[in-house]
Subunit: 467 residues, 2 copies
């Protein structure tokens, strides 16, 4: 059976039917997302008949309806599992229009005003970072933004690396023991080697210990190692802690080493007057990763890499692709600063959200997320059955239910489709991590989430969270 059509009228009908279906299915998704779907992977496959092909359009609609019904929504009030959640109507609107134009962001010739929009957003982010004359580009996620920063840093440390390759320079990268896994992963990808990533211990607040970092650098220099990059984490994955960027910048400047700030989670606090101090020192860093799909609430993925000095992205990424870059100056052809060739437009959604909320809206939203995290921490502290691992520095609240396994609690909550929430190691304990990042989160939902956690803990056997 085959329902392809060469008939343009029928095709016009199909796209209109598709738009109608989107409207209808979207409405249904919104209605039911106060609940989570049941998870059982074994049952889903037969139920969904995923292998079917060659079906009429109305069956596609029905199949998508069923699939989306069974897909957990990260905008559900029961979703606390990741460093993103919720839904921004302005951003979603822009994101839903994006595939209709299906713009690729390499040249002004094909992307037109979308290039100017991207430039506008990057300009604002560069300014917020404190870079007077910086540049930036969007990359498909924080890991690849971090990867690109490491490429640029490596090529600065070893100027022949791009053209001639590496030749055993004993390159070394420094990051907190609590930094993101993309740092060693990227070192493995880029020929630096995962073992050449030195993990700097963190203090009891989760911040990289700058005294140890300084000692490591001095030792390594003495032993012939070539420091390539120091990665300071602005918002660690589990605790949401911020490395002391200013102090790290001093060490980086002493040793002439590239300083990258992985602000995938935390850089958005640059927009928040009350908490901006956490990012002080970023203006002295060489590069910054900033994911707008986290605290700025736009759909995945929307990650910017910003650099303090212009020209470095093209130095490491541009190829003369004369079949592609045929018109306009390079400034209008962002493909020269991209790790990708064909590239989805990730800028329009954040531009639309920012257009709506404004700096004032984001300032208030981020302050509110911090307040909610403090509120959640206070509720935990006030409850004799629970124990707070650490006062949250930002929006992650890490805690245990006394005498119960955090992992078991999260697994049970998921199995019973009561709450999507994860756990992580914090100060030697396995803690439940409640992330306050959904802009629609409120006190009531936090109370409800904690009640669910306790209800499940009550029926579980005793367990321990030492690691």
């Amino acid at each position: 059976m085959n329902n392809d059509s060469d008939n343009p009228t029928e095709d016009a009908g199909a796209i209109n039917a598709a738009l109608d279906a989107v409207q209808r299915l979207a409405g249904k998704m919104l209605e039911r997302e106060d609940r989570l779907p049941q998870r059982a992977p074994g049952e889903l496959s037969p139920q969904l008949a995923l292998a079917a092909t060659g079906r009429p359009f109305d069956e596609v609609v029905a199949a998508l309806d069923e699939i989306m019904t069974l897909t957990p929504s990260s905008a559900s009030p029961l979703f606390f599992n990741q460093l993103f959640a919720g839904r921004d109507p302005a951003a979603v609107m822009a994101e839903m229009l994006t595939p209709l134009a299906n713009t690729s962001m390499y040249t002004f010739k094909v992307a037109g005003p979308q290039v100017l929009i991207e430039r506008e957003v990057l300009g604002r982010m560069v300014a917020a970072a404190g870079y007077a004359d910086g540049e930036g580009s969007f990359f498909p996620g924080g890991s690849i933004s971090n990867l690109t920063a490491m490429v640029v840093a490596r090529n600065r440390a070893v100027s022949s690396a791009r053209d001639d390759g590496l030749s055993g320079e004993r390159l070394t990268v420094y990051t907190s023991e609590l930094g993101h896994y993309s740092i060693p992963k990227n070192a493995g990808l880029l020929g630096i080697g995962r073992r050449n990533v030195r993990t700097v211990p963190a203090d009891e607040s989760g911040r990289m210990r700058v005294d140890v970092l300084r000692r490591m650098l001095t030792e390594d220099r003495g032993s012939g190692r070539v420091p390539v990059m120091i990665n300071a984490t602005a918002g660690t994955t589990v605790l949401g802690a911020f490395d002391p960027i200013r102090a790290v910048a001093e060490v980086a400047e002493e040793h002439g080493v590239w300083l990258h700030v992985d602000g995938a989670l935390g850089a958005s606090v640059l927009l928040c007057e009350r908490h901006r101090a956490l990012m002080v020192g970023t203006e002295r860093a060489d590069s910054l990763t900033w994911n707008a799909h986290k605290m700025m609430g736009v759909p995945l993925v929307c990650s910017a890499l910003l650099l303090r000095r212009p020209g470095l992205l093209a130095d490491s990424l541009s190829e003369s692709a004369e079949y592609l870059f045929q018109a306009d100056e390079d400034e209008l052809n962002p493909g020269t600063r991209s790790i990708q060739c064909g590239r989805r437009n990730d800028a329009l959604k954040v531009w639309a959200a920012w257009f709506h909320h404004g700096d004032v809206g984001y300032d208030r939203r981020i302050a509110r997320l911090f307040e909610l995290a403090r509120h959640a921490a206070a509720l935990v502290v006030a409850d004799p059955d629970m124990e707070l691992v650490l006062q949250p520095e930002s929006i992650n609240v890490c805690f245990e239910v006394r005498g119960r396994s955090s992992a078991a609690i999260c697994a049970r909550l998921d199995a019973e489709a009561r709450l999507k929430i994860g756990h992580g190691v914090a100060n030697g304990r396995r803690a439940i991590r409640l992330v306050c990042i959904d802009p629609d989160l409120d006190e009531e939902r936090i109370v409800a989430a904690l009640a669910e956690i306790k209800a499940v803990a009550r029926v579980l056997p005793e367990g321990d969270n030492a690691v």
Copy 2:
């Protein structure tokens, strides 16, 4: 001014307003895309007031309306500029729903059935490639699929590369002089070095010369070089030519070198009985890049990397991120096989399109694209004012208007918003490249495009296309 709201009722209103606006704006986009917008970059910025922020929701809608009006649509009948075009209603429907669930594809816990959908699509692609026991993953574009293949190949050639880094092994990569620019670019990123990419000459049909490749490998082995990867191109960027994969596979096997097939453009012919022979030998290759956003017509980006043997992606990409991978076996947690951490769902759109068209529909569609290219070539040959550079092997038709500069013609067509079309170097001549990839393309539109090209050529001064 600030229009953020903590009021849930207002938020529910906003998302419904957003969905209504998407419907309305999408309808307007469809209505006007038989024309191209004027391009002038200098005039767009002031017109669009891109720097404004903090505006009411209806102004966001109005701004998006204006921006999308001014954005070239790659589904316009006047768009021939890239290796993608057109619009697939089933795929677009799925893509528009994707940000509403805002799934990240690292774990079954958060992505649920979307993981099974991705696995289903990858399984079909692995089977089409002829890999009995293969694996795959989606990557954000063909360049990064190619990059990941090069990482895996490099780590196979130098088993210590991932952990210890590179140490001047004189690694070498082989690719056609007509291959994609991502090959040298990626070698530059991965510590191999762009100068260590040897470009193999192509014959007059645009196919890599296997005799020269064989000679290069023998020579390089003798001089202590370490061959890492041979890249065979299935569908070159300008000509759409296919390297003789089977013959390349023989050389790769003789020398024990990793064979990657960059089928970003061309791998979709695996679905087309009439033209599948172009891909013969792929079943002996170690890896294959296949972009569904090209001949399969789904929105950007949708690129799969497929590997003949399972386990290699995780060997090069997996990190033990215990805060993330907490439930289900790795098979259901595709984050262990990804270069990204947070990852957009690129699988649903191709699954939906395939569900609708079926293998039969794709078989017919791809055969039809080839026919259209031959038809266009025949029209060029029959016209004394034009000259065909080469009979198209697949869907790219490269030709000149006699005595007129191809670059000048394309620039004028763009400046006058008559046609989006590009040019490239083919057999020493700068040729106009007409790409027959839009599934809604027909003979009439080809005739119209050629007429526009000739009309513009007529008013241009004489020019030459020698390069």
